[in-house]
Symmetry: C2
Subunit: 341 residues, 2 copies
């Protein structure tokens, strides 16, 4: 593991994105998403997923500085074609736009098609909570989740997240998908040699498995069976359908769409119905009353906050050697300073 300064990593990402053609503002936005995600300390869906972005941009698969084209609007609801830019840019735009709509209508929804992988929901909903909104971000993922009890993928796992402000020291925040485990989580378990419960899904032969990698290659089940499956379907409608994007495994809509990714941001103005202090206090009361009944309870968002405190305390992340080598290699190719001293 190598200690890597947070500031240095942010600067590295900005320079890499600038070298890939992004404007200073867009490069800063992408860096902010990656730093926020990495500060959660999860070890996947963060800086460990940075290299594909560079690759997509260099290969022309994603547009460095996308133009957002309004497709339809009605009151607090809008849909955009996100111009095949990085998901980090599209979702930043979408969450910002949802907040602007919520400023006017109390609640706002912005659906985006033609985006790319958004990394994780947490960075966007965390920003929303910091600005006084209940933020919700939904992602149309690949078709990677099965129906309860049967082999074969037939639904997106709906990567999603929400956050809301409280009077505590951190926002309540969840970043999850509707399968029992994300692929990142399965890879982590495999690395640590940890098995998975056999009811999490099937291997590619359709048999229950405790092996995380066999599960990743097979069928992941939705949480709570039909419950998670239904929630994922709702998510697919709110993203794919409302954004005029590709439905489930469609790969094109025939109208110039370049990328099947779609995301939808929803924001509720936390002080729409009471002053912000009252909202935060009451939202905090929920955490406190729950903790009072279950001392030591892990409140969603607590882990992210603890990790952030630890990283910002020492001003650095501990990154795996393999990742650092790859980041340095890319730096050489992009002709920007290496991370390693």
């Amino acid at each position: 593991m190598k200690e890597t300064g947070i500031k240095e990593l942010r600067s590295y990402i900005e320079q890499a994105m600038r070298a890939c053609g992004l404007t200073e503002e867009n490069a800063g936005t992408v860096a902010d998403v990656f730093i926020r995600a990495t500060l959660r300390g999860v070890g996947h869906h963060d800086i460990y997923d940075f290299l594909p972005r560079v690759q997509w941009l260099r290969e022309g698969k994603a547009v460095p500085n996308p133009v957002y084209r309004l497709q339809a609007a009605f009151g607090g609801v809008e849909s955009y074609d996100a111009g095949n830019g990085l998901g980090e840019l599209g979702c930043s735009f979408g969450m910002e736009r949802a907040m602007q709509l919520a400023e006017e209508h109390g609640i706002g929804l912005c659906a985006l098609r033609n985006t790319n992988h958004f990394l994780a929901a947490a960075p966007y909903v965390e920003r929303a909570a910091e600005k006084g909104f209940i933020g919700l971000l939904l992602c149309k993922g690949g078709v990677s989740m099965g129906a309860p009890g049967r082999p074969g993928a037939c639904m997106s796992a709906l990567p999603m997240g929400f956050a809301y402000p409280t009077d505590g020291i951190y926002p309540v925040m969840l970043d999850a998908c509707m399968a029992y485990a994300s692929f990142g989580q399965l890879q982590m378990r495999a690395k640590k040699g940890e098995p998975v419960p056999e009811w999490w899904g099937l291997d590619k032969e359709g048999k229950p498995t405790a092996d995380p990698m066999k599960l990743a290659q097979g069928t992941r089940f939705p949480i709570g069976g039909h419950k998670g499956f239904g929630l994922a379907m709702l998510g697919e409608v709110l993203t794919s359908v409302l954004s005029q994007g590709c439905i489930l495994d469609e790969k094109e809509t025939g109208d110039g769409l370049q990328n099947w990714s779609a995301h939808t941001a929803i924001a509720i103005k936390a002080d729409a119905l009471m002053d912000i202090g009252a909202f935060k206090k009451r939202a905090g009361t929920l955490s406190r009353r729950s903790e009072a009944r279950a001392p030591g309870l892990h409140i969603p968002g607590m882990g992210s906050w603890k990790a952030r405190e630890a990283f910002t305390g020492k001003g650095a992340f501990s990154l795996e050697d393999e990742l650092c080598e790859k980041l340095d290699q890319i730096a050489g190719e992009l002709n920007i300073p290496k991370l390693s001293k």
Copy 2:
């Protein structure tokens, strides 16, 4: 089992509610909720839960014809005190109001405090889908769900439901809570002698159990562990906090509130961003593409539709003798005609 005409049951409910002091309109609304719920064929959260309503009204615990008092409003977001009426009335009002707000703002949210048990989410979201909305209804339940892996209830299970219209023969619809099983589901399993998976929760001694009744008396776990727990917390904020209601296990707010129940209805105008035909076609495409990958797939809402077809085909429900006897007994007490001929 006794065959009971659907029309006759509707008329019975209306007359019972009229005898309890409800206006004709309110009695009709309550009957519509119970008939819609019973047409789902679930066998719980339907006519089998009718008797408590009569009891609450006769004992003065619920108000027959509640007055809805607007507490706060901003754009498409409103909160009301629902006047301690039946949940069937409060949630009908709330869903209707959310749809009116969505007609104006594209998306609408109506939070209600001081309601009562809403029976189930399905009747309200089904109405919304019939009227061209994506309908979502959230319920602040009792504190009956545990945190992942530990004994003791510390969160509501968030009974909720959604529905959206499609170009198929039924709306996609889910009615569920964020615990692995509702109490109704556990009672059904107990009646049939079916065990539950041991990972669904703990008995009251804090040990895993396969006995549905021991689980009902113990701690039910959230679906997907921290995922379902987080979603339930979000639901509690959207209901209890936004409605100015009781948080978690609070029993009063000190401002004249009579009942800790709270519900929030959210409606999205399905034709806000495209014409309704396009929305329905694309939403239906999702079901069809999913089914194409998983032939025979159970789409959420399919079971309700099949049950409804069967019941309306013969014009009658099959109700348990014990229920019919109780309904007749109540009829005698309310001085209305008995259901049985």
